[in-house]
Symmetry: C2
Subunit: 191 residues, 2 copies
């Protein structure tokens, strides 16, 4: 590695592109704006990534990799299964705190029809990683029957994505908290 992480152009482009895509989606990710953000010309972006599709796929790949690392760290940091499930929604809350952004996976889920296949694949990996982690946590907590953990994990993931989306469309992060509290009160998540 020549440079520390985040200091070379490709890293800067990926970081800026992620921020833009979380607020404006794939369609709203403008190469000209992105280039200006990074401090180069639009055409120069294509020196680092062969196309917008490749760039977006790289963004989505790094996105789920970072998410996996974060979940792994949380797993090691806490040792209470209920604490894992308590903490989990916070990663989605962070996006809203970050200027009302949402999960890349949610935005691109909406844009699904217009996504290049490689981007679709990486986006699905994000959901897979999250659902798998939730399944592990649910199993450890012994909250639902073994043959129901996978289904429940998916339901929790979908419901949290929906809560994030609704909170964004009201620009109201307290709505996100209230929705999560309702999920807990209803029994979808442990109280």
């Amino acid at each position: 590695m020549k440079n520390p992480a985040g200091t070379n152009s490709a890293d800067k482009i990926l970081a800026a592109a992620t921020r833009i895509a979380q607020a404006h989606g794939y369609g709203g990710l403008s190469i000209r704006d992105l280039a200006e953000d990074v401090g180069i010309k639009a055409a120069s972006i294509y020196h680092h990534f062969p196309s917008k599709a490749d760039l977006a796929a790289a963004v989505a790949k790094r996105y789920w990799e970072d998410s996996a690392a974060l979940l792994e760290a949380m797993w090691k940091e806490l040792n209470d299964p209920l604490a894992w499930l308590r903490q989990y929604p916070n990663t989605f809350r962070k996006s809203l705190e970050n200027e009302n952004r949402i999960c890349l996976c949610s935005f691109m889920g909406a844009e699904y029809d217009d996504l290049p296949q490689p981007v679709k694949d990486e986006i699905q990996r994000f959901a897979d990683v999250n659902v798998a982690w939730l399944g592990k946590a649910l199993s450890a907590a012994s909250l639902v029957d073994a043959d129901e953990t996978e289904r429940r994990a998916r339901a929790i993931f979908a419901a949290i994505a929906g809560a994030q989306l609704m909170a964004r469309s009201r620009s109201d992060i307290t709505l996100y908290d209230a929705l999560l509290e309702s999920y807990r009160a209803a029994g979808l998540l442990p109280a």
Copy 2:
């Protein structure tokens, strides 16, 4: 009224624009494509709607009005509170059946940052109408405490939107059904 509903140009434009927006969003709604869909030239769209923002606001307005009428009809057709709550997710299922489209409100919720204010307002009305209806149904069913109905109604709406989004990103309508079943098993919706 000169023509039956849906036969004049403005109606055809609104219907086509709605379909496009449910698949590609506000940003993905191209006036040129829309015009071709309707069989006129792009410039002619502006004879019926002064701007894209006005068109989108009209689309969103009609969308929640249609939704309100549909919910009203369902209310009158069935007389069992539990049947209302059973039937409700079907309206969202219909969008997915219709070539993997999603609720206009969900897509534009993601695009929130890029929406003209009049469009934002109409989109919020859709959520308001749906949450209010769900609240009425929950009250009638006496499923949750009176001071919890509003919160629960919002939670159900958000969770269903999330399920629809996740199902779209997998192009898998059976996933939508499975998620709804999990919500019921978990206690978010009546079984």
